[in-house]
Symmetry: C2
């Protein structure tokens, strides 16, 4: 463990490339532990990188490059230029909140300048950082004569050679539902296109996850198959067909390759965060992790509506009831959706209906915010745009001003719109459509986060652009959705399968926190007829396909600094014994350790509560019941802990018996091996409290 | 059967839309037989069409529209304008060559003008033609004030609602290998993106195939899933990201929806041809269908090379040998690949190496062409560009001039390059990359076809843009590849599976002729070690996964006016009994009738030789052996025919016993039911000769 702040930058070498036999072998840079090596080459005039692990090539030579409209790009006829450098960085930085307080940033770096040998003289730099847990690289295009004026990137040539026989876990990147798909599994050879993070396991057992870090003023990258198991970066085009509008100098986002000998190693990597810039917001003590409840699930199960139609959820009476419940049970926030006008028409197709400042008549924002504060609770605001970003940006300042004035410090935003259907207006006043991960939306999200930060407000974005670790730079961008969350268990077609969470942990969660909204206690199908025909969505037999204990384990397995207890208060009060775990569990952590797991099958994660000696453990499995032996080596040696164990009962099964569970206490130490018996789609949740 | 030229255009009605209750029900147009109805509506301000079959909606309301950069497009706030019209067309036209001589064009037409009700006033026309076998529609954008200047199409909003539960047969549209994929099968819900033609079978058994016709000065359309089983037209963007550059007035290609109660009905439709313009080339008697052999398979099985390296295939001696073989066995042409310089370097990545006028020293084009002519045979020319269209267009005139001068009247062109890797140079001299189905390549192919037509040369394009029926308008564009052909059985990874041909027949072949290059007689793997390491491609255990009889059946099943006998002459001479069928079979037809079949399983097709009373029958099956009962009702009643039957033997099996076959004669009439026993991946080929 890292226990002290260490900062050591050692400049190891300044190398003149001219002095190296570059053509024959390329330039190597290795991880601090020497296991991962990246070899950069210009053989055949192509910029390439090769990744080796323990001396074996695991990602064969793959192309690098950029193409532009109207400007010569970087593709062929390249050679490595005069100077490169290698540094060793080893430092530790502190997160204001997060899955661990101290993050070690430890890597060797290499910057390679590729010079064109035909056409106008120009150069492209590629900056590599090789960590013990993977590789990051980005393009840096300096200002230069041949690349004056507007640069329109038409293609990024970055390739990733995984191999056709690797197993893959991915979601498709070109369909309507943004990132919200059941994960697909198969060999890498059958992956046509994939959102990142996408995770592969090579036949050797080596795990590789591709993603990106620090996505700023660029469009999002997905992977497109070039050959079976070989992928090219596909940048999302804007409505004008251009992938990225920029000017030199510019840097691309980091392309990240997490590499680990086992699946938990992917989770125990901080390279995404490390590749982002440090906090630019200064004092962010106003960004407060915590648990929350909300007027939300009631709409998903059709007890309430967002619109003002007789069963309007966001009414004064219900909101006060939720505030009381939150205050009584230690929740910091109460989310209220459907508080503002605009929900009564066809809002999905007409986001211009939404006002972000006008409340429905039965919702007194100011009075409720004051009432919440009087109880030591906060209202969590809500901005659903239905993807009409034009309408939202026009009202954004006023919207955040209102929340600042009434003391709302956290806002959930929403971009419910089909992928490619984000609305903006161009300079001619023509309506244009953008993707959720377009350069336009990358810019929009940052504009919203900065506008919120000016008012001391934090953001939880739903239907967002994917996370690339920008919470390090903008710590008020706390969490987001960006995958199938709990709501799909209310109305998804089909609901999330038993393998969903054990897949998320090794894919989506590598990107950063997710507002999955765990903790559904009423596991029965919501089969009552809808009040109105248009309220019926999906299959009425839907329900969470988990045991109750798996619902508890989600609070540890799926990290979010804003963690919801998503069910109705009455359902928690009906099972106070199990509810106790949700009341006890932390939302901010001193340390996190993925202990064991296999992608899509099971995972066990331990986390130490921030500023506390308490630890929590969560373990979940897919359809297959498992008996996990979990050595508690993460506990402080010599200390005895009371383990408050919430586990599946002997007859538990997600489908037939989700409520068979046992809650028990026992004394454990770091030497104990905990036997966690997980039922089919079951889980275990444990709180470890030091005895003294 | 249609036996006379009939032309009858009846204008049924001129309707004023204002007089119709449009909002409530839309405007209907039905096929002449009344089974297919298209309903066009502007409900909710959206332009939509709905397709019904026998009174049931089979394709629910789907959007129509176009979006532009910098101009208001056609999406929302549309209403049907003042005038529409319905015509009944029933005419018959004659093909100079083809799968049938006389083609009946028989449809009802409807033109709907959608007028914008917001923003600048503008209008979009959609022209529908409803045939008994399907629907075609296209956009017509008139010249108008609001759409002046360059129009850049950023999206075509056309949707196709098939339904998630239909079965689909498709190839992916966004990967490297152009159209050359093994067909995928699954429900429509799992189709992310698909090239057209893509074929669906709805749970009712109704077959629907989506494609396009008359693709001119526009980019190719593929389908992209919007929702499971619901698709949007995805136009291929150019290197600048724009999908189509145009100006008003313009018409789009026709979007085609073939509809049939059974699989053979898809094949027995001429709507793709009917939706193309008549012949624009005048006298095309110089376009000559026929069979050919060539110096080609020898390279694929590594007996010869394209380059000039000791085992150069295109040498004078071998070419004379092939000319002699062609003359002795009734073949009209001899293709010679690798005759021109450029094949010795890394031609795949550097198409600039190719000269289209300079022959290798061991290939005397002029002398060989003259020798061929003296034998009544023609040399078929070859232009491989490896996708460097810039290099090809610079040499194109000289290249066709050379062939015209020496009497080469048919040229096979080639665009071997990864999808998206076609090279052109933009106005700034910057190398840009285009897709095979981009607007640029659509234009290039037509430029090549017209340049060839000026010299009396016909084109057989490999790695082409897909066929959309332009052979009607430009009859010298005879055939093309555009799917996995026989070559994949030499080196494909894996080779074409037993179901491949029975899938092609109902998918790719709906677009038009394919130069599949059938007739491989040596069905053994080519396991000899390669002469050079770089000659090894794919798996050396590859072989055609068919019986010998299935190879014969391909000559009838897979229509091409230029039909190759692809194997080495010695392999034909070793089996003269089976070879006789290839010598006898026609390449140009009076009539063609798909008799029976199921997509991906089996198909039986009968064709009448052009200008003859002879008929031919081909039947193939997938892995499953089948006993087909084929009523010979296509034969002329009252005539007795000698059926020369080439069929699988009782122990035939593609894998274990491909050479077990029976050749026999029997007398048949139109009243005979032929029992065709097909082995696993087997086939039957029959020639019917009238007795008298």
């Amino acid at each position: 463990m890292i226990t002290r702040l260490l900062k050591a930058i050692a400049m190891l070498a300044m190398l003149l490339a001219a002095a190296l036999p570059l053509r024959a072998q390329g330039i190597d840079v290795s991880s601090p532990d020497g296991r991962i090596t990246v070899t950069v080459s210009d053989e055949g005039g192509h910029a390439t990188y090769t990744v080796s692990y323990d001396g074996e090539v695991v990602m064969p030579a793959a192309r690098l490059g950029l193409l532009f409209a109207d400007h010569h790009g970087f593709e062929d006829d390249l050679e490595i230029g005069a100077a490169t450098e290698i540094e060793l960085v080893d430092e530790v930085w502190e997160q204001p909140w997060g899955e661990r307080r101290l993050v070690r940033d430890h890597y060797n770096a290499l910057e390679v300048a590729f010079i064109s040998t035909s056409g106008p003289r120009r150069n492209m730099h590629v900056r590599f950082r090789v960590f013990d847990t993977g590789v990051g690289f980005r393009y840096f295009i300096p200002e230069q004569d041949a690349l004056q004026g507007d640069l329109r990137i038409t293609d990024e040539l970055t390739q990733f050679n995984i191999g056709p026989d690797a197993k893959a876990w991915w979601t498709p990147s070109r369909q309507f539902n943004r990132y919200e798909y059941i994960y697909r599994t198969g060999t890498a050879a059958v992956v046509d296109d994939a959102h990142t993070p996408v995770t592969f396991r090579q036949p050797s057992g080596l795990h590789i996850a591709i993603h990106e870090a620090a996505l700023v003023d660029y469009s999002g990258m997905s992977l497109l198959a070039l050959r079976p198991g070989s992928f090219e970066a596909a940048l999302r085009p804007g409505s004008d067909g251009i992938k990225v509008h920029t000017t030199a100098p510019f840097t691309s986002p980091w392309r990240t390759i997490q590499i680990a000998p086992d699946a938990p190693g992917l989770i125990n990597s901080d390279i995404i965060l490390n590749l982002n810039e440090p906090n630019k917001l200064g004092d962010v003590s106003w960004v407060e992790p915590g648990k929350y409840v909300g007027i939300w699930w009631a709409m998903h199960i059709r007890d309430r509506t967002w619109g003002n139609d007789g069963i309007h959820g966001a009414n004064n009476e219900d909101t006060r009831r939720y505030i009381d419940f939150a205050a009584e049970n230690g929740f910091a926030g109460v989310l209220v959706e459907g508080w503002n006008t605009g929900w009564d028409g066809d809002w999905f197709n007409n986001g211009e209906l939404f006002s972000f400042t006008e409340a429905y008549p039965d919702f007194d924002l100011e009075a409720l915010a004051a009432y919440a504060q009087s109880k030591g609770v906060r209202i969590i605001g809500h901005h659903e745009t239905s993807g009409n970003v034009a309408n939202y940006e026009a009202q954004m300042d006023a919207a955040f001003d209102l929340y600042e004035r009434v003391g709302v410090t956290q806002v959930k935003t929403g971009y419910v719109a089909d992928a490619g259907d984000i609305v903006r207006y161009d300079a001619d006043g023509v309506k244009q459509y953008e993707w959720h991960d377009s350069q336009f939306m990358v810019g929009h999200h940052l504009r919203a986060v900065l506008a919120a930060a000016e008012r001391g407000i934090s953001i939880n974005a739903h239907e967002p652009v994917k996370d690339t670790g920008l919470r390090r730079t903008y710590p008020n961008w706390m969490t987001r959705e960006g995958a199938r969350g709990m709501e799909f268990n209310a109305w998804g077609s089909p609901p999330n399968p038993p393998s969903h969470v054990s897949t998320l942990a090794f894919t989506r969660m590598l990107a950063g926190p997710m507002d999955f909204t765990p903790g559904i206690f009423d596991l029965r199908p919501n089969e009552k007829p809808p009040l109105r025909e248009d309220m019926q969505r999906g299959d009425p037999s839907n329900r969470p396909q988990t045991t109750l204990m798996k619902q508890l384990a989600l609070y540890v397995v799926l990290y979010s600094p804003l963690q919801m207890a998503a069910d109705l208060p009455e359902n928690y009060l009906a099972r106070p014994d199990a509810f106790q775990f949700i009341k006890d569990v932390a939302a901010d952590w001193e340390e996190s350790i993925a202990l064991q797991g296999e992608v899509g099958e099971y995972v066990a994660i331990a986390r130490q509560k921030r500023g506390s000696e308490e630890w929590f453990l969560g373990a979940v499995t897919d359809e297959t019941p498992r008996d996990l032996d979990i050595p508690l080596t993460f506990l402080t040696p010599g200390v005895t802990y009371t383990a408050q164990i919430y586990r599946d009962g002997p007859n538990a099964h997600w489908d037939t018996n989700p409520y068979d569970y046992v809650i028990e206490e026992r004394e454990v130490t770091a030497a104990t091996v905990l036997e966690a018996g997980l039922a089919s789609s079951g889980g275990a949740a444990v709180r470890f409290v030091p005895k003294n």
